[in-house]
């Protein structure tokens, strides 16, 4: 099937064919899939031994052990279930301005992670965080065809207004349980308490992945002189988010230090909760994130 959108195309997808998302912890699920769970199932992959009890299938008795211990032990096998990958995409104005590179990067990343999921026969859903709500983009999709139909809607996605990550996620009716991975893509430059949202997801026993997408201008601003910085999410010129500054080298140095500490704080928060975190700049190739950084820590294998 030919897929040609501004977000995702065949050339890009072809590079994702060989990769898949990896679930680090044992999970639970309703349907069979490719991800091992903590319960025992009927796959061919040996998991453990258990002393025979009445009612057990005698075909699973290991006779070799019986000859050694003169006791009956049965073999237990790994159970593999289908994973539910839920992707939250921050659709605030700060993600699209001042250039579209940041938003495009975020959409491509969401699409890529979603594709990795459906390719591995997992279920995928993409939710767009707009204001205090997390809108469902295309429902829960399991096949590529359904996925491509859903992803095509990203082309017309508009990033506007501000978003409240905390309320959007906490109030989301189906954040899932211990059955998959939740990805949160945002620049995290918000007053909203997104940490509370992450804690909530962890409470729901979700594996969580945070991806911070920054623009080159966010990382290395090149302003100087007397400047009024207008926040894209500001409603009017008198919004308190707009600030006046006489930007000097000292200001720029302080900004870089603040940004470094800001990212460091997110890292520290995530490390303490075994949450994967990546901070990327939108001018970096997305492949570097997927096949290098995520591969190294095992998010993708």
């Amino acid at each position: 099937m030919m897929t040609q959108t501004k977000v995702i195309d065949d050339k890009f997808l072809s590079r994702l064919e060989s990769a898949a998302l990896y679930m680090r912890a044992n999970m639970q699920g309703w349907f069979g899939g490719n991800h091992p769970t903590r319960s025992y199932g009927s796959t061919v992959e040996f998991a453990d031994y258990q002393e025979y009890a009445l009612g057990d299938d005698i075909r699973r008795i290991d006779w070799n052990l019986f000859s050694r211990f003169e006791k009956y032990f049965i073999k237990l096998y790994v159970d593999e279930r289908q994973m539910h990958t839920q992707i939250f995409l921050d659709c605030s104005a700060s993600m699209q301005k001042p250039d579209a590179g940041k938003a495009l990067y975020a959409m491509r990343l969401a699409a890529a992670l979603g594709f990795l999921s459906v390719q591995n026969m997992d279920r995928t859903s993409i939710r767009l965080i707009k204001g205090e709500r997390a809108e469902d983009l295309c429902g829960v999709v399991t096949g590529k065809n359904a996925f491509f139909r859903g992803v095509g809607k990203l082309d017309s996605l508009v990033f506007e207004g501000s978003s409240d990550l905390e309320k959007a996620i906490v109030n989301c009716p189906s954040v899932g349980t211990n059955n998959g991975l939740t990805v949160l893509i945002s620049d995290f430059m918000t007053e909203s308490n997104w940490k509370k949202a992450v804690s909530y997801l962890l409470y729901q026993k979700r594996q969580v992945l945070l991806v911070q997408v920054l623009s080159p201008e966010d990382v290395d601003p090149f302003f100087n002189g007397r400047t009024r910085l207008i926040d894209f999410e500001a409603q009017d010129p008198l919004d308190e988010r707009n600030i006046k500054l006489k930007i000097t080298r000292a200001n720029l140095k302080a900004y870089r230090e603040a940004l470094e500490d800001f990212i460091g704080d997110i890292k520290h928060f995530c490390a303490a909760r075994e949450v994967d975190f990546f901070s990327v700049v939108s001018d970096e190739p997305i492949e570097k994130l997927l096949f290098d950084r995520m591969l190294k820590i095992g998010t993708v294998k």
Binding site: A93, S94, M95, K97, P98, K102, D187, M189, T190, E191, S215, E217, D218, P221, F223, N224, G225, R226, T227, R228, L229, I230, D231, F232, E233, R241, N242, I243, K244, L245, K246, T248, R249, A250, N251, A254, Y255, E257, A258, L259, D261, F262
Partner: protein
Amino acid sequence: MKLLLPLGLIGLVSVLALILIYIFKPKYQDRKVSSTYVWKLSLQYQKRKVPMQWLQNSLLLLIQILILALIAFTMAEPYIVLASKNGEKIAILDASASMMAGDGESRFERAKKQIASLADGTVDADRFSIILAADEASFLIRRSDSAAYIKQKLFEAECGYGASDLDEAMELAEGVLEENPSAEVYLFTDKEYLDSGPVKVVDLSDKEWNAAVLDFRAELVKGKYVFTAEIASYGKAAEIPVSIEIDGKERLGRLADCAKDGTCKVVWDSLDVYDYTRAEIALSAEDRFGYDNTFVLFNDQKANFRVQFVSADTGFLYWALSSVPSCNVTLVTEIDKAVGSGFDLYVYNSVLPAEMPQDGAVWFVDPPADLASVHGFRIGGEREGDYVLAGSGGTSEACRTITRGIWPSSITLSKYSYLTAYTGYESVLTCDGSPVLLAKNENGLKTLILAFNIHWSNLPVLTDFPRLIGNMCSYSLSPTVEKNAYLVGEEIGIHTKPNVRSVSVKGVFTDGGESEEIYTSFPVSFPSSRTGVYTVTQTLLSGEVVTDYFTVRSPQAESVFGVVETTLTVPIVSGSGTDASVARDTVDIYVYLAAALLVLLCIEWGLQYREQ
């Protein structure tokens, strides 16, 4: 620190302008960013890490204000009034001629040593000024703290031959006192003052004896010259031999018997001198001031202008000219025998020469119509009647000189020649509206036209006649020097003859030296700075050489020793105003101001660069 030009501080208005520029500077540039979240965090960082951020933000403005303030301050011409520690001193050194008196070492030299000694004890902790009071006062040193420099300048200082202008010296001292009112003023002089006020007078006179010729003159008595000298002896009574030499020939001397600090007259009335050019007397005295022991006198009554009077016969004019003391008139009755050079004045009465003389003044009296055009004028004819002369009303030198003391309306004419063209001539007297006495000065060659015959006027019977002739001579015959004796400091104007090639002024000084100045551009003005006998030699284009003499003497007061003055003009410290005519030693402050300005400009440049 004080300001020489406080109005320069008006420049501080520019600081206000700068602040206004900052206030009304273009608005903040709007820049849209994805989020100001991190920027707000960075503000907290800055507040925490840079406590003096406000200063850093305003540093550029502060530096620019400093620069403008510094420029305004420099425009106000600041100077530092140096505080006195041991006591700043101002030494006024009397450089009058009498300071050269002394036995071996003159008063002036002794004064220089004492000043050097005074400076040694002063400059280690304070400043020292020296004012040289010659015929004009000037700073030798102004507020210096370098003993070596002071001594070098003292060594170069020379005594004058004239009087000293102590009043001007005190005015200069006032300029220093305004900067440091506690400075002490010393006057090194040879006079004693009963009341010198705050000025400390150091009297360098040592009761020296001075025999002086105060005056020497010659009077014509019954056709013979009687010479009279006024001799003085200061410091002691003395019998002083006086020798006299007339025109190089020594005559019988006299003995001047002078009382202490008194004068006596010595008269030579039996020398049978009918004429002389130069007379000189000299004292044979071992006194301590030799500059007034001789007196040279040149005869200023001696006829020294040669006049060629060309006329068919003598008349009133000839006799009037002959009576002018300085004129030596040669009568030439035939025009063919008249010469065109070698005279100071050529008078043509009722005749005209074929060529104009080039080395003297010319009078054309009652000129005939023919040949008139050759000399630049044209005669229309003669008019008869009863006429009264009138002045032309001109204010030129010719009009002023010729008509001085003359009443033109008293002069009547019965006939005159009227001129139809007289280009370059200036009308002095007119008759019935037509000029009858005209003058022209063409590069020093002076020409007068008297367009009537003396016999046709009532001039010969008027007292104005010899006066008019005298005035015409004064205009036409300028002596080389106005007088034969000058005082030191006088500016001597040398009137050169027409067609002079060069003028040499050679001086033989009283103390034995000689000098010679050659002038080739005219007029010549000669400053009389040293006493002696001077010879002015004019070399004319024709090769003829004309020589004149004059003497330069010190003022008579310089010969008077042991004078006790009652009061001394003392410097007044007004507390306001400054003497702008002198350069201040605090000019050095500009170097530091310029350096500070340069540093501030560099800092400002650096800040601008950093901001951009």
